[in-house]
């Protein structure tokens, strides 16, 4: 498989495993009295697909904009491909791709015109642009829509075009800010297949999302809440976090006929910390010493111990922080 850089004049740097391409250390960004990003540290390896989760307004987009050099850091350090974001913002832009849920496409222009515009915006020569556009049309299967106006494309195709425009300059790092918001599941899955294809070629992805199934596909995850990075690691790492499994508690799956009628009662039961419906069952975080009392009170329940899902973990972590703040 050819690396995406092959068509540009830039030499692809040798790609040994585990080379850090994005590094943030104690990243802090303040807007006046408000701290939007508070002491966040993480790093991304080459070819990694890193998922970034957190509620709206928690600081995800701010981190992306800061890493691209658009917002000054208040303190801390950040480098991309070894370049300091404070000093090399202009150079960084040429090695970084960005795509948001807003598409960033001109609806009244054709697929071709959008690609040509972004190629020129990144300073690609006509011949480089030509070759690269052909490559991207193959990758995204957009060829049949080449002369069509963007306004006539469906959401999924627009998203593919947005990705093609975002990586027209063969960036080593791509930031995707909720790239699949509002897209149907089939289009979503095929877009993720593209991400994996590119990450296999050594492109590093930083993806923010609200979808747990997307988060589970990421190699590593970060969870940001109230401007702080409160969890970082693989799904397995997160499942082992002490805060996600408070000592003396068990994560249970409870099944019974007409389960939803029991939810309120369960939530009020002594020793039940969390309870929420998953399909035909209830996932609950229960104090281990209360399990027998629970079974005695609700004999119709079948009880099974489970590993926490990602959603369970994030909810538990968030509630934990909220209770600490009180």
């Amino acid at each position: 498989m050819t690396p995406p850089d092959a068509s540009t004049t830039r030499e692809a740097p040798p790609a040994p495993r585990a080379v850090v391409v994005v590094n943030a250390e104690h990243l802090t960004i303040r807007f006046g009295a408000f701290t939007a990003v508070d002491d966040v540290s993480f790093h991304l390896d080459r070819g990694e697909l890193f998922g970034f989760l957190g509620p709206n307004g928690s600081g995800k987009t701010t981190i992306i904009r800061a890493l691209c050099g658009l917002i000054p850091l208040s303190s801390g350090d950040a480098t991309i491909l070894g370049m300091d974001v404070r000093q090399h913002a202009a150079d960084i832009k040429r090695h970084v791709g960005y795509m948001s849920q807003k598409f960033g496409l001109y609806e009244d222009l054709t697929v071709q015109e959008n690609l040509n515009f972004y190629a020129a915006a990144y300073g690609l020569s006509t011949t480089t642009a030509h070759a690269r556009i052909k490559e991207l049309l193959d990758l995204t299967s957009l060829e049949p829509y080449f002369t069509r106006r963007v306004a006539q494309l469906s959401g999924g195709w627009k998203q593919r075009l947005a990705l093609a425009c975002a990586i027209i300059h063969s960036p080593e790092v791509v930031f995707l800010d909720e790239p699949t918001a509002g897209i149907d599941p089939v289009a979503r899955r095929s877009l993720w297949d593209l991400f994996f294809q590119l990450s296999g070629q050594g492109v590093t992805f930083f993806v923010t999302t609200h979808y747990m199934d997307e988060a589970e596909r990421c190699g590593r995850l970060g969870y940001i809440y109230m401007s702080k990075l409160i969890a970082l690691g693989t799904v397995a790492d997160l499942q082992q976090l002490p805060d996600a499994n408070p000592p003396g508690t068990s994560r249970l799956e409870l099944e019974a006929p007409s389960i939803s009628a029991l939810l309120t009662q369960l939530r009020q039961f002594q020793g039940v910390r969390e309870a929420t419906i998953f399909g035909r069952a209830i996932h609950a975080l229960v104090q281990t010493d209360a399990i027998s009392a629970l079974q005695a009170a609700f004999p119709q329940l079948s009880v099974r111990t489970i590993e926490p899902s990602l959603e369970d973990i994030f909810v538990t972590l968030t509630l934990h922080i909220m209770s600490e703040q009180k």
């Binding site: 830039r10 480098t79 807003k102 515009f117 972004y118 020129a120 300073g123």
Partner: protein, 385 residues
């Protein structure tokens, strides 16, 4: 155990200058304009329609004031006086009444703005050598009409009096006013050149401000900030297509002015077009500043409209700057239209040349450059958000 960090700093294969991105943005913007012919059509047509509307409507030469007559004398002498009034282009006799209340009623209803009452002893007084008095009532609610009606009625009386002096063949003093530059004192010649500035300004500010704010609304501006396009490259790239559009519109308006309104251009057309460029630069810059302030297209529209009234009233387009209070004279110095109207009237009416007008062009150039730099700085500061 931390993995090794990325050592080599990738080298750039080009250096993005301060104007980087100008060409792709300009090309894209031209495509936007051409892709939407109806918008283009209206952008070009609306100023022309307005030119027709205001070009014909704005006529400050007072003529044919509706006049009511109450002639109590009913003599040959009184009829000749009425004829003298009617013969001056100022008065237009519309109504005759037979009583004082009817005369006042006609004035109150607005059917007449001047009333002339000739007393029953008019002819007798003239023949008897005593002074005959004639009452002229003038509606003061429109001050310009009132002033002219008073002057004109005094003139008619004086003329009639002189005609009655036996043996007087020519007056002792003969003042011959001669009007230079706009000899027929047509108000179209005076107002249309000024109107050009207002029409161009309205059109350009709105078009360019909307174009940038639309990108902000749709999220493409956010995408552009992630590319190496420089803020000045983006701004100038936007200005070139809209500047070209405005220049075409200017030529169209000048043609309509010359051919349809018959306003002669006494100076050099080339100089006029050349000296229009600094004004286009300034209003394009103004539109860019508005686009950095406005979050939505509606806001951009409001702000653009807000620039129109000061340009109409404080630029010398309607009211003479020299008669304004000092404060407003100061304000008018900051309005681009002030300088462009001087250029337009100078070249069109007086045939002024470069040495007469270069200061105005220089001020506009400085204003325009300042506006563009200001807009680019505001753009960078906001992180283009």
């Amino acid at each position: 155990m931390t993995p090794p960090t990325h050592k080599e700093v990738p080298t750039s294969d080009f250096h993005a200058g301060p104007f980087f991105g100008l060409r792709p943005v300009a090309r894209k913007e031209f495509t936007h304009i051409l892709r939407d012919p109806s918008t283009l059509f209206f952008a070009l047509l609306i100023p022309i329609i307005q030119l027709f509307l205001f070009g014909y409507a704005v006529d400050t030469n007072v003529r044919q004031i509706p006049t009511v007559i109450y002639d109590e004398s009913h003599t040959q002498q009184s009829r000749s006086l009425i004829q003298a009034f009617a013969a001056s282009d100022i008065f237009h006799v519309t109504t005759y009444v037979q009583s004082v209340p009817a005369m006042y009623a006609t004035m109150r209803s607005g059917k007449a703005q001047v009333a002339i009452r000739i007393p029953y002893d008019y002819a007798r007084s003239l023949q008897g050598g005593t002074t005959a008095s004639v009452l002229v009532l003038v509606d003061g609610s429109d001050s310009s009409i009132a002033g002219i009606a008073v002057d004109a009625s005094t003139g008619v009386a004086l003329e009639q009096s002189l005609a009655r002096i036996p043996g007087l063949t020519s007056p002792a003093i003969d003042v011959r006013p001669s009007v230079l530059y706009n000899p027929s004192t047509r108000s179209a010649n005076f107002f249309i050149p000024g109107l050009i500035a207002i029409l161009l300004q309205t059109m350009i500010i709105l078009l360019i401000a909307l174009s940038l704010v639309r990108e902000r609304e749709r999220g493409t501006l956010e995408q552009l900030t992630m590319t190496p396009i420089a803020p000045l490259g983006l701004m100038l790239g936007k200005m070139i297509p809209y500047g070209a559009l405005a220049f075409g519109e200017l030529c169209l308006i000048l043609a309509v002015m010359r051919v349809i309104f018959q306003v002669p251009i006494n100076g050099s057309v080339f100089m006029l077009l050349l000296m229009s460029l600094p004004f286009l630069l300034t209003v394009l810059g103004l539109g860019l500043i508005i686009s950095t302030r406005a979050r939505t297209q509606a806001e951009a529209f409001q702000l653009s409209m807000g620039t129109i009234l000061p340009s109409v009233f404080l630029s010398g387009y309607i009211f003479q700057i020299s008669t304004m209070p000092a404060f407003f004279r100061g304000v008018s110095a900051f309005i681009p239209a002030t300088y462009y109207i001087k250029i337009l009237r100078g070249i069109v009416l007086r045939g002024s040349e470069f040495p007469d007008l270069w200061v105005n062009a220089l001020v506009l150039t400085l204003m325009g450059t300042g506006a563009i730099l200001l807009a680019a700085r505001a753009f960078v500061k906001q992180g283009a958000g």
